[in-house]
C-alpha cells in the first residue's frame, strides 16, 4: 500500500463512525446496501450501517472464514454471496473487528448492485423483525430512459414518506439539499483522486483506492467525508506532480474489474510490486464517483440527478455500455492490459465476463486475463493457481509491448 499521510485520518474517521453507531442512544440505525441513496438517511439524521463494508473489513482482517462457518452451520449454503455469509456469521457471533453491528431499526436496499441484496435483507428483516424499504433500480439494458428515471424518482418520494413515518417528523428537504451538495462534492473529489492515476507513473494504485473506499461508501453526504477526500486529493496530486510512483519502476499499467479479493490484499500487492505492475484503475472504486458525473444544468431536478446516478452503476448496465466504458478507460489511463476477477460471490459482475474479456481484448488489442476467485471466501482461492495465471498474463503484456 502506498504510504499516504492521510491514511491515519481515514482510520480516525471510520473509528469515529463505528463508535457513534455502536453507542448512539438517540439516532436510528439503518442497514443499507452500498448502492442505496444514503442521502435521504443523512437528511433525517439516521446512521447508515453498511453490512457490505463490514464484511469486507472482516475479510481484510482475516476473520471471514470463522464467520462464514457460523452462518453455514445454520444452513446457509456456500453458494450464496460470501459478504452475506460473513455478515450473518458476524451477527450470530457478534464477531469481526468491532464485535458485530448495532441492531437496525429498519433496512434500506437498492437493487442496482444485485437482486441478491433483496434476499439478504429479507433474512435480516425477518431476524430483527424490522421494516425493509426497497428502492428498485432495474437493470439498464438499453440506456437510461424516462420510465426508468420516473420509476426511481417515485420511489425516492415514497422513501421520504417512509422515513417521516419512521422518525415521526416531516421529511427535511432543506437538509437533503445540503447533504446532496456534500455527497456530490465528496464524489467529485473521489473521482479526481482516481483520475490522478492517469499520470504515468501512477501516484496511487487500485489497492490503495480499495483501502480508501471506506468513507465514500459509508459517509458520503457528510462534511467529514468531503474534508477527508480533499486532503487525500491534495496529497495524491502532490505526488503526481513530483512523479512519485506508487509502484516503483512501474512497467505495466493494468485495469482491475470486479471487487477486490479482500483477504489477499497484502499478498497481491507484493506480487504486483515485484513484477512492477501497477493496478491503475478499477470499475469497482469508480462506482462511487457517479454522482459527480452530472452537471447541475444538465439535471436541474435533484431527484432525477440522484435517480440517474443510482441507476447508472457499472454493473447495472448492459454489456454494450460496459465494453464501451472499459475500452474508454483502457485508453484514458494508458493501460497495457486488464484483469477480470470472476467473483463467485457476485453474479451481476461476473456472469458473462468471459465474453467481455474476449471482446475487450479484441477491441483494444491488449491482453486480459480472468481469474477465478472470491471477494471474501479464502476457502475457494488458490494462491498457486491464481498467481500462475497472473504471471502468464504479465508475460503476455511483455510480449505485446
Amino acid at each position: 500500500m502506498t504510504e499516504f499521510q492521510t491514511f491515519s485520518k481515514m482510520k480516525e474517521l471510520m473509528t469515529a463512525y463505528y463508535f457513534e453507531a455502536k453507542t448512539t442512544k438517540e439516532k436510528p440505525i439503518a442497514w443499507i446496501t452500498s448502492g442505496a441513496p444514503v442521502e435521504f438517511l443523512f437528511a433525517m439524521d439516521i446512521i447508515p450501517i453498511y453490512p457490505e463494508n463490514y464484511a469486507a473489513m472482516c475479510a481484510a482482517n482475516h476473520q471471514s472464514v470463522e464467520l462464514m462457518e457460523a452462518a453455514e452451520a445454520q444452513g446457509f449454503s456456500q453458494d450464496i454471496c460470501a459478504y452475506a455469509r460473513t455478515d450473518f456469521g458476524a451477527d450470530i457471533l457478534q464477531g469481526g473487528p468491532v464485535g458485530g453491528l448495532p441492531a437496525p431499526h429498519f433496512l434500506l436496499c437498492s437493487t442496482n448492485i444485485c437482486k441478491t441484496v433483496i434476499k439478504w435483507y429479507e433474512v435480516i428483516a425477518r431476524k430483527y423483525d424490522v421494516p425493509l424499504f426497497i428502492v428498485d433500480t432495474p437493470f439498464v439494458h438499453d440506456g437510461l430512459t424516462d420510465d426508468l428515471l420516473e420509476y426511481t424518482v417515485a420511489q425516492f418520494k415514497d422513501l421520504e414518506q417512509f422515513l417521516a413515518r419512521i422518525t415521526g417528523r416531516p421529511f427535511d428537504h432543506e437538509h437533503l439539499a445540503e447533504v446532496l451538495r456534500l455527497s456530490q462534492e465528496a464524489a467529485a473529489y473521489w473521482k479526481k483522486i482516481l483520475f490522478l492515476a492517469r499520470t504515468v507513473p501512477t501516484p496511487i494504485n487500485s489497492l490503495d483506492s480499495f483501502i480508501h473506499l471506506g468513507p465514500i461508501v459509508t459517509l458520503r453526504g457528510t462534511q467529514g467525508c468531503v474534508d477527508y477526500y480533499q486532503a487525500l486529493y491534495e496529497e495524491v496530486a502532490g505526488r503526481a506532480a513530483d512523479k512519485i510512483p506508487s509502484v516503483p519502476g512501474e512497467r505495466y499499467r493494468v485495469l482491475w474489474d470486479n471487487l477486490p479479493v479482500w483477504f489477499k490484499m497484502r499478498r497481491l500487492e507484493n506480487f504486483f510490486q515485484e513484477r512492477k505492475c501497477a493496478l491503475v484503475v478499477t470499475t469497482y472504486a469508480n462506482s462511487w464517483g457517479g454522482l459527480s458525473n452530472y452537471e447541475d444544468e444538465e439535471m436541474a431536478d435533484p431527484y432525477r440527478l440522484l435517480a440517474a446516478s443510482y441507476l447508472n452503476v457499472y454493473i447495472n448496465y448492459g454489456f454494450e455500455e460496459r465494453i464501451r466504458y472499459l475500452s474508454g478507460l483502457m485508453d484514458e489511463f494508458s493501460l497495457t492490459g486488464f484483469i477480470m476477477h470472476s467473483n463467485r460471490s457476485c453474479k451481476p459482475y461476473s456472469v458473462g465476463m468471459y465474453r467481455l474479456q474476449e471482446e475487450l481484448s479484441q477491441r483494444t488489442g491488449r491482453p486480459g486475463v480472468v481469474i477465478e476467485a472470491d471477494q471474501n471466501d479464502p476457502r475457494v482461492y488458490s494462491d498457486a493457481q491464481i498467481e500462475a495465471r497472473l504471471d502468464a498474463f504479465i508475460e503476455s503484456m511483455e510480449a505485446a509491448s
Partner: protein, 370 residues
C-alpha cells in the same frame, strides 16, 4: 395412459417441430419464470418453455462459470449445440441476477432477438404500475416483431382463454393428486406437467382432459409411504421422481416455480393488461425470486403443507440458485417450529448418479415413518 406425455419427453425436438408446423407459428423460447405465455401466443408465437435440460455444459462453459445454475448453463448449451435451432427468439424475465446477465450474453453471442419483461419489485404501487406498463409496451412490441403477428384485444382474449384453461386443467390434476394420493405416480405426474412446456395449448388441454376423464373413475392404491410437499425452483430432474416412486413416497403438493407457483395462477385478465400481469406475477403463490412482503413465503408454506396434509417438506435445491438458498434456513426453522419435518437435497439438472441422493431420501422417509 401417460404414454402421450412420456412420448413428448422422449422426443422434445420432434414434438416442438411438429407442433409448430401444426400451429403454423414461429417458436419462441421462454426462459424462467413467469413470463406470461399468453403474450407470446397473442403476438402470433408458439411459446416453448425452456427450464434447462440434461445436457452437460461444454460449449456453454466458454461463457458461463461453473457457479451459474444448471438451468442457465444447460439452456445455453442447447442453443449453442444447435438443439434450439427452431427457436426464433427468446423471452426472458428479470427473475434473478444470472438470467438478467444471461440475456446480455445471448444478445452478443446468439444471433436471435430477445425481449425481457423487467419485473418491478418496488412496493410503491403507482410506480410499479407505470413501470410495468411501459415495460409491457416494449415487450409486446418486441414479441410482435419476433413472432410476426399483431397483438389485438381478440388475440389476447383468445390466448388468455387457452392458457387459462390449461392451468385450470392442471389444477384439477393437482387436486386429484391431493385427494387420491398415490393414484398418479410422481414420475407420471411431472411428466404430464413437463410435456405441456412443449405443446400448443389446445392440443395439451385435450390430452389433459382425456387423462382427467380416465383418472376420474380410478381409486388410489392402499395407503403407503409418507406424504411429501416438494419445494424448489424446478421439478427436474425427473429421474428423482422415479426414486421417490420406488420409495413409496406420495408427493401430494409442491411449491415449484414451474409447478404450483405457475399452475395456481388464474386466467390472465386482459381488459386491463397491466393490472392483469401484475396480479399474474405476484400471486397467488409467492416466489423466492419476486419480493412481495404482502404474501409472505413462511406463512404460505406452512399453510400449504398443512392443507396438503404433508408429513414433511423436501427442499429440492438446484445448486447455485441464490434466491432459493437464501430463504431456506429460516424456512426450515419455521417448519421445525411448526412441527413439520423438512430436509434438503442438492441437485443439478445434468446429474447422472443418484445414489447419494437416494440414500438421503430414504433416510428422510425412514425418519418420517419413525
Amino acid at each position: 395412459m401417460y404414454d402421450p406425455f412420456h412420448e413428448v419427453l422422449s422426443d422434445v425436438r420432434g414434438t416442438i417441430l411438429k407442433q409448430a408446423r401444426a400451429l403454423d407459428r414461429p417458436v419462441i423460447g421462454v426462459m424462467p419464470a413467469y413470463f406470461p405465455l399468453e403474450l407470446v401466443y397473442a403476438s402470433g408465437g408458439f411459446p416453448v418453455q425452456l427450464w434447462g435440460n440434461r445436457l452437460a455444459p461444454s460449449r456453454a462453459d466458454a461463457y458461463l462459470q461453473s457457479y451459474c445454475c444448471s438451468v442457465a448453463r444447460s439452456a445455453m448449451e442447447l442453443e449453442l449445440a444447435g438443439g434450439a435451432d427452431m427457436v426464433r427468439g427468446y423471452a426472458f424475465t428479470s427473475l434473478c441476477d444470472t438470467l438478467v446477465n444471461l440475456r446480455e450474453v445471448y444478445r452478443r453471442v446468439v444471433d436471435k432477438p430477445t425481449v425481457e419483461l423487467s419485473i418491478p419489485v418496488t412496493q410503491t404501487a403507482e410506480a410499479r404500475r407505470n413501470y410495468l406498463s411501459s415495460g409491457l409496451d416494449k415487450v409486446n412490441r418486441g414479441l410482435q416483431e419476433m413472432a410476426g403477428g399483431r397483438m389485438t384485444p381478440e388475440s389476447l382474449a383468445e390466448a388468455s382463454e387457452l392458457y387459462g384453461r390449461v392451468r385450470a386443467l392442471q389444477r384439477r390434476l393437482y387436486a386429484l393428486r391431493l385427494e387420491r394420493a398415490g393414484l398418479v405416480s410422481n414420475l407420471d405426474f411431472y411428466a404430464v406437467l413437463k410435456a405441456g412446456s412443449f405443446l400448443g395449448p389446445e392440443y395439451y388441454a385435450k390430452l389433459l382432459s382425456d387423462l382427467l376423464e380416465k383418472l376420474d373413475s380410478m381409486d388410489p392404491p392402499e395407503d403407503s409411504g409418507p406424504r411429501l410437499l416438494l419445494s424448489g425452483l424446478v421439478y427436474d430432474p425427473l429421474e428423482l421422481h422415479r426414486i421417490l416412486d420406488r420409495l413409496g413416497v406420495r408427493v401430494v403438493q409442491d411449491d415449484f416455480a414451474n409447478g404450483w407457483r405457475t399452475v395456481s395462477k388464474e386466467t390472465l385478465a386482459v381488459e386491463n393488461l397491466v393490472e392483469g400481469v401484475a396480479r399474474y406475477l405476484f400471486g397467488p403463490a409467492p416466489c423466492c425470486c419476486l419480493y412481495n412482503p404482502e404474501n409472505d413465503r413462511h406463512d404460505y408454506l406452512v399453510d400449504h403443507a398443512r392443507k396438503a396434509g404433508a408429513d414433511g417438506v423436501l427442499f429440492w435445491y438446484l445448486k447455485f440458485c441464490e434466491p432459493d438458498a437464501f430463504d431456506r434456513p429460516q424456512l426450515m426453522k419455521r417448519l421445525t417450529d411448526e412441527g413439520i419435518p423438512s430436509s434438503v437435497v442438492e441437485l443439478e439438472l445434468s446429474m447422472q448418479n443418484f445414489d447419494a441422493i437416494g440414500t438421503r431420501l430414504s433416510a428422510f422417509c425412514e425418519m418420517l415413518e419413525g
